[in-house]
């Protein structure tokens, strides 16, 4: 008879080991999945995890993509992780990401065709504000009325998607685009283009912002009293209340930060890799970032690594689609499985397995 015994403290070793084991287990399960789909599992795993980085033929093209795809994931996941630590479940990052992109792009396009150096900083500001404002809706409703932030933030994703559809074929449509939906292309407008900073690396301003966010989040969570309050609220809400931590303030700060970072991610995406506001510029990063946050153990450094790994599965997935004809959706399932395995293995972090019958006291 196997039974579980709660550890007094979560195991440090298992906290670090579970993500690695989960990735391993997902590779095995993914291999079976790919075999069912008619691909050689070993080739498929190699195409996804090895070729984008080291294949001499196309690694030169795919390697820079790693930073491009990881940056928004890391930015969003950092914001989400702060909230998750406090028990604030913002799962509408996708909506905040869209609204950041829409607001930032709108602010920029209002100034078209100015070549002032201030255009891009202004867009960044507007993008961050847009994401922040969208996240403030569930935050204020939660604080004022106690409305469930999970459901509200998620509903707002669908509202944001409708806003995006509306502006990309209306308000922000390229007047010179012959009536096609989609805004002006920011790549053709230097003042607003989030260009590659070092050619051939994929490094753009969003990547810089992601690294800064990782460092700031680390300082906040490990060294700052607010970070301590956030962790305390998540782990012992009553104790936090007695210590004078205002739960309302934690909600506002957590959702606000997450919205701000998601908004930034959206702005950097739309002015750089995506290039323009269009109905489907968002690639579901807001949802994948949830997996990134958990895989990174809600820790900034972990999220950095998890973001890079998840970016790799995106790139490798595209490669596998191209080379082996694996359906794109199989990567989505692969990412979902990863979260499942991680959550399942977390039992070892918090519990000890004991063999044998319980003794009667």
């Amino acid at each position: 008879m196997i039974r579980l015994e709660k550890r007094p403290q979560p195991s440090q070793a298992w906290t670090l080991a579970t993500p690695v084991l989960a990735v391993g287990a997902t590779m095995i399960a993914g291999g079976i999945l790919f075999a069912v789909l008619g691909a050689d599992p070993l080739v498929a795993i190699r195409t996804i995890f090895w070729d984008p980085l080291f294949n001499p033929q196309f690694a030169g093209f795919t390697r820079p993509q790693l930073l491009v795809k990881a940056a928004p994931l890391i930015l969003i996941a950092i914001g989400l992780s702060i909230g998750f630590r406090a028990g604030v479940w913002n799962i509408g990052a996708e909506g905040q990401y869209i609204m950041g992109a829409v607001c930032g792009a709108a602010a920029g396009l209002a100034l078209y065709p100015s070549e002032s150096v201030l255009v891009f900083p202004l867009m960044i500001l507007a993008g961050a504000l847009g994401g922040w404002a969208w996240a403030m809706i569930p935050a204020v409703l939660k604080v004022r009325f106690g409305t469930n932030e999970i459901l509200v933030s998620l509903m707002l994703v669908y509202v944001a998607e409708n806003v995006l559809a509306s502006v990309s074929s209306g308000l922000l449509r390229n007047p010179e685009g012959r009536g096609f939906p989609g805004s002006r292309n920011f790549r053709n407008w230097e003042a607003a283009h989030n260009a590659e900073l070092i050619p051939g690396t994929g490094m753009h301003w969003g990547v810089v912002a992601a690294f800064i966010a990782v460092i700031l989040a680390y300082v906040l969570m490990a060294r700052h009293i607010q970070g301590f309050n956030i962790r305390l609220t998540g782990e012992a809400p009553r104790a936090a209340r007695f210590a004078g931590v205002s739960p309302a303030r934690i909600v506002l700060v957590c959702l606000g930060t997450a919205g701000l970072l998601a908004g930034l991610a959206g702005l950097f995406e739309v002015t750089g890799p995506a290039g323009q506001i269009s109905i489907d510029f968002n690639s579901g990063y807001g949802f994948t970032a949830i997996i990134v946050a958990f895989l990174g153990r809600l820790h900034p450094v972990g999220i950095l690594l998890a973001g890079l790994l998840m970016a790799l599965t995106y790139i490798g997935g595209e490669l596998a689609q191209l080379m082996l004809g694996l359906p794109g959706a199989s990567i989505q399932l692969f990412q979902g499985m990863l979260l499942f395995f991680l959550l399942a293995m977390d039992v070892f972090t918090n519990y000890r397995l004991r063999l044998g019958r319980a003794e009667v006291a």
């Binding site: 009325f145 409305t147 459901l151």
Partner: protein, 308 residues
């Protein structure tokens, strides 16, 4: 110019019943799950899996009934994964539910790819003698397919089960205080697993109703938040079966009305109309929470570990 006369009240009510059915099925299942003290945020993932599996099986076997049965089984299996993770390996319910939704969306897109644009057999409208021949009410209420009535029966059955049966009482006890229920000798984990599997089967039926009757076609991501709205309806209903019915039909009403307004060319932006079901859900949630959420099971979302 808007032409409201093109909206016929008889057809309107009839289509509200059809459009409310998938959400009603998912919501009544989720209510039972939450009554047992478990918060499963994976309804969306289970619904879309039900939608694709039901559609695929119906196309391949030529029978919509087989499709529904397969959908219920597939989503129940998915729910069981959630159940084992949260009840046996004690993972976080919110995170696992989200994972279920993400995995379900991926799985459904993968299975559904070959079925895009296909036609499937659908459920026939029932021919109810006498009632179906009533002048106005006949076409409004008594000319639907079997699933519409099954969903209504299910609400009635859940209500009676929770209110009058011993098993229902145990389920509620587990949801209110799992430690007390455990001390009384009830198997908390088993009861919860049963509730979770039931909830999954219901969500699967709801999803299959979307792809086999309501739309009826398979498109990627076709549930479009219906599972999340079902979750919101459970909160709206204060965990009562009768109010789940009201909530689902209200929501169905909003959906049908906005579609009708779009078709009638109302002078309202299309984006606003398409977003209205979600906005209405938010407003309803706010109104409910402003009055204070009542009736939530006391152990909702809390992990249970029988320590000694």
């Amino acid at each position: 110019m808007m032409d409201l006369s093109s909206i016929s009240p008889i057809l309107l009510i009839a289509s509200i019943m059809v459009s409310a059915t998938p959400i009603l099925l998912a919501a009544i299942g989720e209510m039972v799950v939450e009554k047992s003290g478990v918060l499963n945020l994976g309804v969306e993932g289970m619904m879309i899996t039900g939608a694709v599996v039901g559609f695929a099986l119906a196309v391949n076997t030529g029978s919509a009934v087989t499709g529904f049965a397969a959908a219920a089984c597939a989503s129940a299996a998915l729910a069981l994964v959630f159940g084992v993770l949260t009840q046996v390996t004690l993972s976080n319910q919110v995170a696992t539910g989200l994972g279920l939704t993400l995995a379900g969306l991926g799985l459904s897109a993968l299975i559904g790819k070959p079925y895009e644009g296909m036609k499937s057999p659908t459920l026939p409208k029932l021919d109810i003698p006498v009632l179906g021949d009533l002048p106005v009410l006949g076409r409004m209420l008594f000319a639907h397919d079997a699933m519409v009535y099954l969903s209504l029966l299910l609400v009635l059955a859940v209500w009676a089960f929770l209110k009058f049966t011993r098993a229902g009482l145990i389920l509620r006890a587990v949801g209110e205080s799992h430690h007390s229920a455990h001390a009384l000798g009830y198997k908390v984990v088993v009861v919860r697993l049963c509730a979770i599997v039931f909830g999954g089967a219901c969500a699967g039926l709801g999803g299959a109703y979307l792809s086999l009757v309501r739309v009826p076609q398979w498109t990627e991501g076709m549930t479009a938040g219906a599972g999340w709205i079902a979750l919101a309806i459970v909160v709206f209903a204060s965990w009562r079966a009768g109010r789940v019915l009201i909530g689902a039909y209200l929501f169905g009403g909003v959906t049908v009305l906005q579609l009708n307004l779009q078709a009638a060319g109302a002078g309202v932006p299309v984006a606003l109309l398409s977003a209205s079901p979600y906005v209405v859900t938010i407003i309803v949630l706010v109104v409910i929470s402003a009055r204070g959420v009542h009736g939530a099971p006391a152990s909702l979302g809390r992990p249970f570990h029988a320590s000694r």
